[in-house]
């Protein structure tokens, strides 16, 4: 575990989050080094969420939204893709591999595809290695937990401050 790259998955409540749940119910095997962070829609995602994750030392980030044309909020997933592309430009400028970040689309019924996506990212990160920005593993876990708690609090309607300094 200590040596495995850690992946943060920003998952849309309406598709990828349900697909992850389904993958669990189906007892599908997928790499355990992924932490799922639920968003009300990937349209909620902003470039600062993605960069903050990398700044906290996460090795890779995947964003999983609904199939194109299938967004619950019409175009949240299309906006998310653009923001992922913009965040990749920043990663390139600062000297971190943009491939550490990727956007995927799937439906809530695609448990096996969720498992496959995690596998793809996991393999890619195994090649890239751990992020050069990574502090010790425990700190990364704590950071992920803090981000997840803040996201849950935000979803519960509380005001969040995860992206402020």
């Amino acid at each position: 575990m200590e040596d495995e790259p850690l992946i943060l998955a920003f998952c849309c409540h309406y598709c990828a989050y349900a697909a992850a749940d389904l993958a669990g119910s189906m007892r599908l095997q997928y790499p355990s080094n992924v932490r799922v962070l639920r968003l009300p829609c990937t349209g909620k995602l902003e470039v600062n969420y993605l960069l903050t994750a990398f700044e906290h030392g996460i090795d890779g980030v995947l964003v999983a939204g609904c199939l194109e044309g299938g967004c619950h909020f019409l175009e949240g997933n299309l906006r998310a893709r653009k923001r992922v592309e913009r965040a990749k430009v920043f990663l390139e400028e600062i000297g971190l591999e943009p491939e550490r970040l990727e956007m995927f689309n799937l439906s809530s019924a695609e448990g096996p595809r969720f498992a496959k996506i995690v596998g793809i990212m996991s393999q890619r990160l195994a090649k890239l290695g751990k992020s050069p920005l990574r502090p010790d593993c425990q700190t990364v876990h704590q950071n992920i937990q803090a981000m997840t708690d803040q996201a849950d609090a935000a979803l519960a309607g509380a005001k969040h401050d995860c992206c402020r300094s």
Partner: protein, 230 residues
């Protein structure tokens, strides 16, 4: 509003290369609205810069961030003043006026620009801003049915169109509307075509930038006894 866009992180990193404690300062007015230098963009640049510095082996450099309501007005800079002593450089994400306001207020702290100030313009559609005014100091919009040929005609013609206008497009680029086609169409719709018959004399550019920086003074608003130099 004043429209700006971001600078490459590498350029900003190079500008601050001799500093150890850097404060990024956002502005809550124009650059917030055009998504170049508000609280969110300052956060993004802060994250990006800290990561870039760590990757370059300069972990010890401190990069903090703060956003104030407006950088081009000294009263708002007060909120920032108590913190500035902690830093050996400021990078301002305001327009060029904001950057210079901070430089004037803090004579002992180097101030660097964090965005590229582009123009005075409007939000054309979500995520798209276009230039509308070149601040000539002698507005002639009344003669051109509300469409500025100085800003929007590539040749700044006062008596257009030129021979290069084709199907409503400017010869300089097929992406550009011909300003004079727009002026003609709008004048026609407003039943004002006859007003375009008159030959418009050249602009009096003495109000423009060529005479050095301009100044607007409202005596009635100046603090009594101190005058415009207060």
């Amino acid at each position: 509003m004043i429209v700006a866009d971001r600078k490459n992180v590498r350029e900003i990193r190079a500008m601050i290369q001799n500093h150890q404690r850097v404060l990024l300062v956002g502005c809550g007015t124009c650059v917030t609205v055009c998504l170049a230098g508000g609280e969110r963009e300052v956060g993004i640049l802060g994250s990006a810069l800290r990561m870039a510095l760590r990757l370059a082996g300069r972990d010890q450099v401190i990069v903090d961030q703060v956003t104030i309501e407006r950088q081009c007005e000294d009263a708002f800079i007060d909120a920032l003043a108590p913190r500035v002593g902690e830093y050996d450089a400021i990078c301002s994400l305001a327009c060029g006026a904001g950057v210079q306001a901070l430089a004037e207020r803090f004579p002992n702290t180097p101030v660097y620009p964090g965005v590229n100030t582009q123009f005075i313009g409007i939000l054309e559609s979500q995520g798209v801003w276009t230039e509308k005014c070149a601040a000539c100091g002698n507005c002639r919009l009344g003669q051109f049915v509300g469409i500025c040929p100085i800003t929007r005609c590539a040749k700044r013609q006062f008596n257009g169109p030129c021979g290069g206008s084709r199907d409503g497009r400017c010869e300089v680029s097929p992406e550009l509307d011909c300003a004079w086609q727009l002026i003609y169409d709008r004048a026609k719709a407003l039943n004002k075509l006859d007003e375009l018959e008159a030959v418009v004399p050249p602009l009096d550019w003495s109000t423009g930038l060529d005479g050095g920086p301009r100044k607007v003074v409202r005596e009635d608003q100046c603090i009594a006894g101190l005058g415009p130099n207060a």
